[in-house]
Every structure is written in structure tokens, then in C-alpha cells.
């Protein structure tokens, strides 16, 4: 198989043709933060947290394929600060009250904020008014925490292939809705998948929660991305 050579922050990396920058970076033990991207789903590049720079151009590393000789900048201070700003914007744009959230400790947005050592956002909190939908028997849509990444829309489908979740509206007013009938027919396994796919605490399974004690949750001990950086690849 042909191999592409490229660099990330000056480090020699190898990729296979067609691999995205995020995938190739991971295969080379380099972490590029992602939020709207989920392994196995078609990337859409909507959150821009994975933004890198190559040849002076900014691009979403989750959608951009690697090209031979590409010199990718991943950890330049201005890029990292832009990512930090994006994460801060997601925090002020919703109502993210971590102490009351079942997903706390397993939340990717929170984990990125920890990784970027965000102590308080630079932007004022917007405290938007958003409606919670608890009408489904198995799951709850807590829209206060939704970051409109569309992972649930892409990942969760009924047996006949129909989408269970869909985005309504545009721009800052996008809300995620569940098809009432399809959501009512979700099995426990499908509900678990929906909750796992959601990076934040916007999709929650009912009647379970806080099952893993503080200290043993996914991001309690190590920052998000540690698994990639310590990964087997080289």
C-alpha cells in the first residue's frame, strides 16, 4: 500500500491515502481534539475544535484528508487559544451546570475544558432558555446541555434506517428533537448507544445515572486524548 509522508508540528508522520488528519494523527500517537467527530461516523466538521493549520490555511482536521508533504500545525499557541475560545463559547452558549449533570466526569466538553485548563470563560454567560423533553420512556433530551454536534442525528437509527434524532431550526436556534414514535421504541441497548454517542449530557437514559463513583469516571484521572498519546502506534 502506498504511504504518504507528512508532518505534524515538525514531527514526521505516515498516513494511508484518504486518511483524515485526525485519523492519521491518531495512528501516529498525536492527539488532535475533536468534539463533533465520533469514530465510525461520517465526519461533518461542525464544531471546529479540531482546527489545524497547513500552508497558512485553517481546516477541520476531522474532514480534511492528509496530502503528501503536508506540514500540519496542531499545537501553535494561537490555534490552541482558538480551540480554547471555541470550548468556552460552547459553555456560555448553553446552560452547563456540571455539578447537577449525570454525564459529569464522562463528558467530552468538560474533559476538553479540563485539558485546556479553562477556569472561567472569557465570554459572558448567555443563560439561554431551552426546553427539556422527557416525553420518551427510555431517554431524556436535556437541551440546556446540547452543543448541536449532530452526533446523535448521524449515529442513532431505527431498524429500518430512519433517523431517531433530527435537528430543527438554524444557526444559534438549532434544537435537537427525537421522533416520538421511534424514540418510544428504543431498546435499552439503543438508548445506551444514544447516551454514549452524545458528547455531553444532552441525551440521558432514564432511571439510571451517577452509577460510576467520582474518581473512577472516564476523565477523572487522565486528560482526554491521553489514550491517543500513550497509544501503541509509532
Amino acid at each position: 500500500m502506498t504511504e504518504i509522508r507528512f508532518t505534524i508540528d515538525g514531527r514526521e508522520c505516515r498516513a494511508t491515502p484518504g486518511q483524515t488528519i485526525v485519523e492519521a494523527a491518531k495512528a501516529n500517537g498525536i492527539y488532535i481534539p475533536v468534539l463533533c467527530h465520533y469514530e465510525g461516523l461520517t465526519p461533518v466538521g461542525s464544531c471546529r475544535v479540531c482546527t489545524v493549520r497547513a500552508g497558512g490555511r485553517y481546516m477541520a482536521a476531522c474532514t480534511q484528508p492528509v496530502a503528501a508533504g503536508m506540514a500540519v500545525e496542531n499545537t501553535a499557541p494561537d490555534l490552541e487559544d482558538m480551540r480554547r475560545a471555541l470550548i468556552e463559547m460552547l459553555f456560555v452558549e448553553g446552560n452547563h451546570m456540571c455539578p447537577t449533570c449525570e454525564k459529569s466526569g464522562n463528558c467530552e466538553l468538560q474533559a476538553l475544558a479540563y485539558r485546556y485548563q479553562i477556569m472561567a470563560p472569557r465570554f459572558p454567560y448567555l443563560f439561554p432558555v431551552r426546553e427539556l423533553d422527557a416525553s420518551s420512556p427510555k431517554i431524556m433530551l436535556e437541551r440546556n446541555r446540547c452543543i448541536q454536534c449532530l452526533r446523535c442525528v448521524r449515529a442513532v437509527r431505527a431498524k429500518d434506517g430512519r433517523k431517531v434524532f433530527a435537528a430543527q431550526g438554524r444557526t444559534g436556534r438549532v434544537t435537537i428533537d427525537a421522533d416520538r414514535d421511534l424514540a418510544a421504541r428504543l431498546t435499552d441497548e439503543e438508548a445506551r448507544r444514544a447516551m454514549d454517542v452524545c458528547p455531553v449530557g444532552a441525551i440521558l437514559r432514564k432511571e439510571v445515572g451517577f452509577a460510576v463513583p467520582i474518581g473512577r469516571r472516564k476523565f477523572d484521572a487522565k486528560p482526554i486524548g491521553s489514550d491517543v498519546e500513550e497509544g501503541p502506534a509509532r
Partner: protein, 181 residues
């Protein structure tokens, strides 16, 4: 050289952060050696008596008195620290931020099942602080120099931050102590 002076306040908070501060176990004996307390609920000093090195603020601002206290802390403290989720983002009290103020007051003082019909009255006395339109994080009212996240921040985090500030070290807070919950 005189000891560094500390002041603390709980604004729209639950005193949980103060409790966590007191949860430093036997290090509290070291604390007595390390610092002197000025205005604080811990020693019940009501007014600032001298310039303060480190001010610790628990809770956000939900009324005019909170704003007044916070501003007086800013005026009197060299370094001002937001301690906990409420001071940093409003926290639990900010759950009311999406509800019109009138509805909140009606719910509490007019329509609550525990209010007798003859007691239905929204308090409005000039002695009472004026409630704000919403709960504000402290850094949206005054400049805040450092933030300790958590609900509450753990005793270890508060201790680490406090000793660093006292000794003039940079705040390199360990990953496992910085938690938003």
C-alpha cells in the same frame, strides 16, 4: 514580617465552599500559623480592618448586597479568587436565570402552598437588598484574579491554591484536583 491577611465571603452560595475550606483536616493548624483572617464568616469580623492579601469569594451575585460586598472585596483585596461553581458561573441559584423574576417571586411568596392567604406579599422593604434580574458570576461584576472550580472545590485544591498564592508560586493546579463538580 506580618502574616498574609485573608478575607472570605459567601454571596449567593450555600457555604459548602467554606465547609470544604474547613475540611483541610489538621492543616488548619498550619493555616493559623500561615495567615491572619480579616473580614470573614469564619471569625465573624464584619468590616475590613486592614488591607487584605487574598480574598476568597463563594457564590455569585443574586442581589444588591452581594454586589456591594463583592465590590468592597475588590477594593480591599490584592488578589481576589472566585471559589466554586456559583462564584464562577452562578451555579444552582442561576437555575432561575431563564425564569422571569416576577414568576420566581410569585412562586415563592404568592402561590407557594405553604403561604397562608393572608401572608401573600412580595417583600418590598427598603431595608431588604434588591434582587437582581438574574444571578451573575462574580467575574462579570468585578475583575477576578483566579478561579477554583468545583462544587465544592476539594479541600486539597483550596489548600494547594491558597499556599501557592501565599508563597507567590504560580497556580499549577494538578489535573486530578480541578473538577467542575
Amino acid at each position: 514580617m506580618s502574616k498574609p491577611v485573608i478575607a472570605t465571603a459567601s454571596l449567593a452560595g450555600c457555604f459548602g465552599c467554606h465547609m470544604s475550606f474547613l475540611d483541610i483536616d489538621d492543616r488548619i493548624l498550619q493555616l493559623v500559623e500561615l495567615v491572619a483572617f480579616d473580614k470573614s464568616p469564619i471569625d465573624d469580623i464584619k468590616r475590613f480592618t486592614r488591607p487584605v492579601d487574598i480574598g476568597l469569594i463563594e457564590g455569585g451575585c443574586c442581589n444588591s448586597e452581594n454586589v456591594h460586598v463583592l465590590r468592597s472585596f475588590r477594593e480591599n483585596c490584592r488578589t481576589l479568587v472566585s471559589v466554586g461553581e456559583c462564584a464562577t458561573m452562578g451555579g444552582l441559584p442561576a437555575l432561575r436565570n431563564g425564569i422571569p423574576l416576577k414568576e420566581c417571586l410569585d412562586e415563592a411568596y404568592m402561590n407557594s402552598p405553604t403561604v397562608a392567604p393572608e401572608d401573600r406579599l412580595i417583600p418590598n422593604d427598603e431595608e431588604l437588598p434588591i434582587i437582581l434580574d438574574k444571578v451573575y458570576p462574580c467575574h462579570e461584576i468585578v475583575k477576578i484574579d483566579a478561579f477554583l472550580p468545583g462544587c465544592p472545590p476539594s479541600a486539597d485544591l483550596i489548600w494547594e491554591a491558597l499556599t501557592a498564592l501565599i508563597q507567590g508560586r504560580p497556580l499549577n493546579l494538578p489535573y486530578n484536583l480541578v473538577k467542575y463538580d
